[in-house]
């Protein structure tokens, strides 16, 4: 292979792959699925990888949506992410207030204390694991520093 041919191959490779790369990044960027498959919680005590889909599918743990997504109770199609209502700080931030305001008037929830996200998640996970005597029990079995 002479050097001119080698150069032509390199230029061609660079041009074609640049177009493919830019197009792929621009047009086919990875989108999060409507229903999460796994969730990574990043906490001050390390990260926690939660297998969301495994908990819900029949071949997994068959946990129904309403067992965790407890609000609103009467509408399974309106599931909210935990963090929509439970802020990490436990405060009623603007985002939390906006979520609540979608269904409630301000005076309905102004006196309501909102559990912080870590307490809410700990309660959900630990209580369920204890109830079914399955799944991780120790901190270090979920939290990875």
């Amino acid at each position: 292979m002479d050097s001119k041919k080698e150069l032509r191959i390199a230029y061609g490779l660079a041009a074609i792959l640049l177009i493919v790369g830019v197009t792929s990044y621009a047009a086919f960027s990875a989108k999060a699925p409507d229903e999460p498959i796994r969730l990574m919680f990043k906490t001050s005590a390390g990260k926690v990888l939660f297998q969301h889909k495994l908990h819900t599918i029949p071949s997994g743990y068959s946990v129904s949506c309403g067992d965790c997504h407890h609000h609103p109770e009467d509408n399974e199609s309106a599931m909210r992410a935990c963090g929509d209502c439970h802020d990490p700080s436990g405060k009623k931030t603007e985002a939390v207030v906006n979520t609540c305001s979608e269904c409630h008037d301000a005076d309905e929830f102004e006196d309501t204390d909102m559990m912080k996200k870590s307490d809410a998640l700990h309660g959900q996970c630990i209580d369920c694991h204890k109830e079914f005597e399955a799944g991780p029990a120790e901190c270090s079995q979920c939290h990875v520093m």
Binding site: A10, A14, L17, S24, A30, R38, L39
Partner: protein
């Protein structure tokens, strides 16, 4: 005295056998194709984006640095394209474009050109690049986090991460055959063990890489992992698990064997490979990092000139 002719040396002119750097580069890229294609099927368009941008930007950086330094245009030798491919293979499929472009810049300009270009780099340029990226943007290289939106039909945790955090109890879901067939979370081109082994064997048979380095790398890993496993099977995984996970196989066949950063004599090659394999397991088992391949290879790159001091004595003697 025997009349048998031991060694015949003719005088110039010599005939070139046709081998070239470009032949070597493109054959190495060909050898990587089984693992790359598997990664593209597994991770889809995002993986294609990373691989394509990685190869193209590596070539473009080399072209730019050639122009700036007024050196001959070397992109035709395919080395930049190869570096781009190997870099892309070691990335998670969801890596942002700007990290890909930064990474190939570090590999080509800092890893290769600052040291004097092809054949002069003391360290593997791609390994230098990825270790710098790991220090700079570590969170993007957390495979568990990067791939949360992928639905796999196998345990969806990075095997080495699970092992490090939770011990061997957490890796029972992985079968060795599954790991060999790429049923594991990881980088685009580093999970399909069988494909990497086939590529490695091809490169060894064609003489593009030295078997001494690859085999001693894997043997070093095997031995070290076996000793750890025998000492504490609850904490340390067995040797085959280590060999089939993380960057082990891509390290053995595509990283440790890089020409200018590895030894040229037989015994130094064996020491170099075994040292990198043993260090990999040491870093994984008792070090701070989940995978030790990159740091192990960098350390052995560093001692490479010293190892090459072990060489055959010159024939004849000084009067």
């Amino acid at each position: 005295m025997s009349n048998e002719k031991k060694f015949i040396v003719s005088h110039a002119p010599f005939w070139h056998d046709g081998s070239s750097i470009s032949e070597r580069s493109y054959h190495t890229m060909l050898a990587a194709m089984p693992a790359v294609l598997f990664g593209l099927i597994q991770y889809g368009i995002p993986a294609l984006a990373v691989i394509s941008l990685s190869i193209s930007t590596a070539i473009i950086w080399e072209l730019i640095i050639n122009k700036i330094t007024k050196l001959p245009n070397t992109i035709g030798d395919g080395n930049a394209a190869l570096m781009g491919l190997v870099f892309g293979m070691m990335m998670p499929a969801t890596l942002p474009w700007w990290i890909v472009a930064t990474g190939t810049f570090i590999a080509v300009v800092i890893g290769k050109y600052i040291f004097g270009g092809i054949g002069s780099n003391a360290f593997h340029p791609v390994v230098v690049s990825i270790t710098i990226l790991l220090i700079s943007w570590n969170s993007y290289f957390d495979f568990d986090n990067a791939l949360v939106n992928y639905d796999f039909g196998f345990p969806a945790v990075f095997p080495l991460g699970a092992l490090k955090a939770f011990g061997t109890g957490s890796i029972h879901g992985f079968s060795l055959s599954g790991l060999l067939m790429g049923q594991q979370v990881g980088a685009i081109g580093s999970t399909f063990g069988l494909g990497l082994i086939i590529g490695g064997i091809y490169l060894i048979l064609r003489g593009f890489i030295r078997w001494e380095i690859s085999i001693s790398f894997l043997a070093g890993m095997f031995l070290a992992a076996m000793i750890f496993n025998m000492a504490n099977p609850e904490k340390f995984a067995g040797p085959f698990f280590h060999i089939l996970t993380g960057y082990s196989l891509i390290g053995a066949f595509f990283l440790a064997t890089e020409d200018s950063s590895s030894p040229v004599n037989c015994i130094p090659m064996l020491i170099y490979g075994a040292g990198a394999g043993i260090l990999t397991v040491l870093i994984r088992n008792i070090g701070a990092y989940v995978d030790g391949v990159l740091y192990a290879i960098l350390i052995m790159n560093l001692v490479n000139p010293l190892l090459d001091k072990i060489r055959p004595k010159a024939i004849g003697k000084v009067a």
